[in-house]
């Protein structure tokens, strides 16, 4: 576990998680094209990344292997962690064991 999860730590981790999403899903875009606070799921406005539950399980697997923890929803909304790139990054920063 990192000593403290500051906004700077999150900002530094954002491009790494963006790259992980892109490589896990073979998306045709660059990490900079994923806005940190835009919805990862399609919301009908057209500015989201348009992910679905298949993508989420694929990303979850890559996350567990790289950062050493299993994602859980505990019967909450399954994809709340995936609201945005920032929310996913914050979750990983707080849960990672490696």
């Amino acid at each position: 576990m990192p000593a403290a999860i500051t906004p700077e730590v999150i900002d530094q981790l954002l491009p790494e998680i963006a790259e992980l999403i892109i490589s896990a899903l073979n998306l045709e875009m660059s990490p900079a094209e994923i806005a940190a606070d835009a919805p990862l799921f399609g919301d009908g406005e057209g500015d989201g990344l348009g992910l679905d539950s298949i993508d989420v399980l694929e990303i979850a697997l890559v996350v567990s292997k790289r950062y050493g923890f299993q994602l859980r929803s505990d019967n909450e909304d399954n994809v709340r962690i995936f609201t945005s790139l920032r929310s996913l990054t914050e979750h990983i920063a707080s849960q990672r064991t490696q």
């Binding site: 073979n26 045709e28 799921f41 399609g42 009908g44 406005e45 057209g46 500015d47 348009g50 679905d52 539950s53 298949i54 989420v56 399980l57 694929e58 979850a60 697997l61 567990s64 299993q70 994602l71 859980r72 929803s73 505990d74 019967n75 909304d77 399954n78």
Partner: protein, 445 residues
Amino acid sequence: MQRHALFTGRQLDDVLAWQAGGAISIRQFLAEAQALAEQLPPGDWLLNVCQDRYRFAVGFVAGLLCGKTSLQPASQSAETLAQIAIDYPGTTGLCDGEFAAGALPCLHFPDLSAVDRRKVTKMPDFPSDTLAAILFTSGSTGLPQAQRKTWGKLVRNGQAGAQALGLLERPHAIVGTVPVQHSYGFESTFLLALHGGCTFWAGKPFYPQDIAAALAAVPQPRLLVSTPFHLSALLAAQIELPPLDLLLSATAPLSGELAAQAEQRCAAPLYEIYGSTESGQLASRRTVTGEHWQPLAGVQLDQEDDSTWASGGHVEGRVPLGDLIALRDNGQFSLLGRHADLINIAGKRTSLAWLNHQISAIPGVLDATFFLPDEAPGASITRLAAFVVAPTLESRQLLAALRQRIDPVFLPRPLRFVDALPRNPTGKLPRQSLQALLHRTTDHD
């Protein structure tokens, strides 16, 4: 008219379901269903989109008690819900989370914990011709097809499904990763509980660690009802799983390799179910033995030309099947493949004709086609591509319009704008031309 009890072979104080708080008895369940029935507005139709398997069950039985048919569409897109509001006037929605109901009135699942279960003294029964549920398929014409399920057939469906898996002799506790509203989850979790003696976990675990936790919360013997996609994710996670007794898979073909790996890791047999929303479940087999499919009790298949039809048992009428099938003399069969128009992505099914109808109906689209590329090595799920001629539209506008109409798993990835589609002189789009066009447009990126 013959009547059938709500449950087969169960008593009021038997356990029906498991939640984080422990067991729920059939008596408690019936008290909650009765209380909910009294809160539902009048009308003939109930659109029950509860995510929680137990709340769905309470809603379904509340509907039966007050004369409502359960509507179970294949998707919850805005377009689908608008069509339901037109075709089934007076529909009430029942939800337990966020639900974009559009114009439909929607009841949020109420707190029923204060009901008095001692008031429940008898098991309800219903006439066999009661229209209990309508499941919808996406027809190739673009209009959803309504598949009507009567109570008597649902009873036989649950009994036959349980018999095929040996659950009547040894009821299991079921953990399902699939939605209870779609035909597979409906039959293999809900109906197995009503008429196969089984109990079920109320939640719908998603992440592998959630599945492990749900399994640990129910007693043995345990049955995991899942899909090749979820099983593959579960095995890849390499986490500790509580002892399992039976695995069930459906909705998409299961590779022999994955089946063998799952059996070895879980030390339990893995059975596959074959069926369709139109016909219900038709047959089962244990994948690793390479066995042929064994029809469920009473189900018969017959063939005309290269089409196969199912009838008998719990099947409503005579139903054409979307697969190429080789029948054997002993009634067993093997699957030779799907008819080319049908698409299955991670267990969700549709047809290319329906998708092409949807994209072509968007204003500004002059010509368009969906296309399922050859499987790419390494990618676990192959996604659809689409080519579109729409000089006035931008990619995000078109995707937003598509999202209103089709399930997200069918959204094209990639979506390519082209000047013209490679139609041949008869107007058809040969597969090789589309594969070449995809290759060509990818290289230019």
